[in-house]
Amino acid sequence: MSDLIVHVTVNGEARRWRVEPGDLLLDVLRREGLWGVKRGCETGECGACAVLLDGEPINSCLMFAAQADGRELLTIEGVADGEKLHPVQEAFLDHGAVQCGYCTPAMVLCAKELLERSPKPTEAEVREALSGVLCRCTGYKKPVEAILAAAAAAPKTRGKTARRRRAAR
């Protein structure tokens, strides 16, 4: 099979990937050193491989790497600002929302996307935002509390404008 060249922006950096047509985005991200993207089912059911594609959470196991051409990806590695953790990450630590940590990157990304779209979400909205990520450790209580606390602690106006939700969701 002939290789494809894919141009993507990953965590703010332009990258050039050489991929095969059948390579999954999940596999290529891990191959490229973005180990925070986790494999849990490869069938789009567990959500552990979630990343943000142009700001929207997607399962990277359900997408070919080639489909990311020309698009912008955010993985867990790009969430903190250097050593300064994102408020959601701080809240996860303060509220005991991390147990094994395997689904944590996906949860943090989904929470970040939610808070940018809806800075003061209700508990139901938080649960909706996490509904694509299965967690077998926490019972979701502490992650939900952490996200609500991060939202409550945030200043009223946020820099980014809320993104419009996809009609389908």
Binding site: E45, A48, I76, L93, G101, V108, E128, T138, K141
Partner: protein, 768 residues
């Protein structure tokens, strides 16, 4: 309770930052040059003999480096259960065999350059199977004339292979026959529990390679690194000294990784190819080839007097261990030993048969036999209280075991052999019940009319207990050394599987040494660099590994004081360690760092100490679970709006993490109660091997959870701690089932309680 600085605090997880930022932490987060992908060919048949197996077409495939069948590996009977030696489980398993005993059982293994090549190689292995009749129904597994699953001559410790009987347990305390004579009310009921799977989000994964010294390195997601080392050494017939097992972070275990599931075959592939080899189960493989909770049929007979005193209880269990008997007798032993003694009936009897089936292998799973037993017992207790017109809380309080009691049944049942009597030194069950009842609104809701509308509400309760480590069996080592800046390396064999034990153990060390938590650098679970530990199971880590850490820290503190005494010109016993300093009687102090520097460069001494710990008793944590349910009488759906768990865990070393253990256990318990079941079709194939068809609870499915930690002071635990991780799972199913009865007046004695069953029962009720 004296003033504590680190123990009892809601501190952040010591390894939290790397997890929340997605740093390389897990087994698969490593790049190894020349890594091959290993894949296992699973049997398509539930029961078959391999007449002929031809691997030539697979081996000829470019990129294939090894293909192994039973002809290529040592034939060593063993158990995959990760238990202390000598293992109480039968030796009925072979790395590869000429017979397959369930759909997914190992037929062959390959190692290839890529996953695609490995998968193609599997397709190119030609196998001629002689298909044998499959034994799929546990009720008939022992019938005369039924196919024999383990007919091989070399397996050992199987009770009666000809009858497919892996093991049995028969114990009586007092005489239930005499007890029933005194009873005014006797109820007999039958209960059934399903195959549940752990469904940890990180599947089983292992990477093996030979290091520069030709030693076998096993990097694996396991709860039992030291057992894995011993098992692999035995199976591959190489010395323990040639193997190093490293456990990185684990993406969830829950008992599913208290088992050597793929390490042996991956090691064999690495030895055969002399290349690094990785085996990672896909989710479908996980459902087919990993482990499950043992399904059980429980028949209970309970007798009480008019005043509500339990006089006799006889529990008869039939359990299926699947194709292999890992944890067979010990899980089922727990169903008796940790369930029956909750009530002080003088006459108790436990009978149990554990049969083989041509079905996925059962194993250890959080609760370890207790969720099955408590579902039955707590359902029946509720029914008895109802018959007696007694409040179910009052009935439980009247009969429950209490502080000062000695439980003799657990001694009889032990862990695969006769054990030690259990003395209840701490018991907060009455407080769990009162606080839980207040939180759910028991008084107001229990007697409130159920209503006649579509949605009917009810509340229910269940009481449960567990253990804290295996008495006289579990043990752990810990080692501490000081560094120049007054920090300490803490090396433990204990296995943090996401539970937060690294944090709890570091807290215990920091508290004992009088230093801040960030001065403890914990390193765990590496067989070359940490002391032995049986591993993370049986709710043992805080009490057993924590006990070892506390001892090691006390010894290290004594050493620190000896050197500080010279510096402070005082007697060592006059000194106290606090706030990263050592204080003399006059208030004069030196820093830990100054002591370290003095010891290193003046006295030429490395301050370091190690210690081991075990207990001769297993103090039970106690739990009261309260559920409120809402039954939709049109759809049969049972919703749980509110679930309250009140747990006596001894002293909580880290209350935040303890609550997390409760909430996670409860989520798994709700799945067990309402949704989760590994379904086999008529040929023994798993019919729901994915997360769409095997439903685990998501964020939107969870009820409001209230967690109440009831602290007691346990004399056998470090800083008074008992355990927390398992006990909260036990009460969810009976509390929900009892609440459903309260709501609609129907008893459900089979799990999971799914809408179709509820609807059918409602129709039958309406027809009456």
């Amino acid at each position: 309770m004296s003033e504590r600085n680190v123990v009892g605090r809601r501190v952040r997880k010591v390894d939290g930052v790397k997890l929340v930022t997605g740093k390389t932490a897990f087994t698969d987060d490593i790049e190894l040059p020349g890594l091959l992908i290993g894949k296992i060919l699973g049997s398509p048949h539930a029961h078959a003999r391999i007449r002929r197996i031809d691997t030539r077409r697979a081996k000829a495939l470019h990129g294939v480096h090894a293909v192994l069948t039973y002809k290529d590996v040592p034939r060593v009977p063993h158990t995959t259960a990760g238990q202390a030696w000598p293992e109480p489980s039968p030796y009925d398993t072979y790395m590869l065999d000429s017979k397959v005993r369930f759909v997914g059982d190992r037929v062959a293994a390959v190692a290839a350059e890529t996953r695609a090549i490995a998968e193609e190689a599997l397709r190119r292995i030609d196998v001629d199977y002689e298909i044998l009749p499959a034994v799929l129904d546990m009720e008939h597994a022992m019938d005369p004339g039924v196919a024999v699953i383990h007919d091989e001559p070399d397996s050992t410790h199987i009770l009666d292979p000809k009858r497919n009987l892996a093991g049995d347990i028969h114990k009586e305390l007092g005489s239930v026959a005499e007890g029933f004579k005194q009873a005014d009310l006797i109820l007999e009921r039958e209960y059934r529990t399903p195959r549940q799977q752990h469904a940890m989000i990180e599947p089983h994964i292992v990477i093996c390679w030979l290091d520069a010294d030709d030693r076998l390195i096993i990097r694996t997601s396991t709860q039992i690194p030291f057992h894995v080392r011993r098992q692999v050494a035995m199976i591959l017939q190489i010395p323990v000294s040639r193997i190093r097992v490293i456990k990185p972070r684990i993406g969830g275990g829950f008992g599913g990784k208290q088992e050597m599931v793929i390490e042996d075959i991956c090691a064999a592939l690495a030895l055969a190819t002399r290349r690094p080899v990785k085996i990672e189960y896909t989710r479908a493989e996980e459902f087919h080839m990993a482990r499950t909770r043992h399904p059980q049929r429980l028949r209970l007979k309970m007798g009480v007097t008019k005043d509500g005193t339990m006089v006799a209880h006889h529990m008869k269990v039939l359990a299926a261990t699947g194709a292999y008997g890992s944890h067979a007798t010990t899980v089922q032993g727990n169903t008796g030993s940790k369930v029956l003694p909750l009530y002080r009936a003088p006459n108790l009897k436990f009978d149990c048969d554990i049969v083989y089936l041509n079905a996925p292998q059962a194993g250890a799973f959080r609760g370890y036999g207790c969720p099955q037993g408590f579902f039955a017992q707590e359902s029946l207790v509720d029914e008895i209280a109802h018959e007696l017109k007694m409040d179910p809380i009052e009935f439980r309080l009247k009969n429950a075991i209490r502080q000062g009691d000695t439980d003799l049944l657990s001694a009889e049942l032990g862990e695969g052999k006769k054990g030690l009597p259990r003395i209840i030194r701490s018991c907060g069950l009455p407080e769990c019940l009162s606080k839980g009842a207040a939180a759910i609104g028991w008084k107001e809701k229990r007697d409130a009319p159920r209503g006649t509308g579509r949605l009917r509400r009810g509340v229910g309760v269940a009481c449960t207990m567990q253990g804290s480590g295996i008495a006289g069996v579990d043990f752990a080592g810990a080692f501490l050394k000081i560094n120049e800046d007054g920090s300490f390396n803490l090396h433990v064999g204990a296995t943090d599987l996401g539970t937060g034990s690294d944090t709890v153990l570091a807290q215990i060390a920091a508290e004992t040494l009088g230093v801040s938590l960030d001065k403890i650098l914990i390193y765990s679970s590496d067989t070359d660099f940490t002391p032995f530990d049986v591993g993370a199971y049986a709710s043992s880590t805080t009490i057993i590994s924590g006990g070892a850490v506390k001892k090691a820290a006390e010894k290290t503190r004594d050493q620190v004081c000896c050197f500080a005494a010279k510096m402070l010109e005082a007697a060592p016993e006059e000194l106290t360690c606090k706030d990263d300093r050592v204080f003399g009687p006059s208030g004069k102090s030196v820093t830990m760092s100054e002591v370290a520097m003095f010891a290193f460069y003046r006295e030429k001494t490395q301050l370091m100490e190690g210690a081991s710990h075990f207990n001769t008793d297993s103090p039970p944590p106690f739990c009261a679970t309260f559920a409120e349910v809402e039954v939709d009488t049109e759809t049969g759906q049972v919703r749980v709006p509110h679930l309250v768990t009140a747990v006596d865990l001894g002293v909580a070393i880290n209350p935040m993490q303890a609550e997390g253990q409760v909430e996670g256990a409860v989520a798994q318990g709700l799945g067990y109660t309402l949704a989760e079941e590994l379904v086999l079709d008529g040929q023994g194939r798993v019919a729901n091997a994915n997360f769409c068809d095997y439903k685990i609870f998501g964020a939107k499915d969870m009820p409001k959870l209230t967690t109440i930690l009831v602290e007691t002071e346990e004399p056998l635990g470090p800083y008074g701690a008992k355990s927390i991780a398992e006990v909260p799972i036990n009460g969810v199913a009976p509390a929900v089932a009892n609440a459903v009865f309260n709501a609609i007046g129907i008893r459900f004695r089979k799990l999971p309680i799914r809408p179709d069953a509820v609807l059918a029962a409602l129709h039958a009720q309406g027809a009456k």
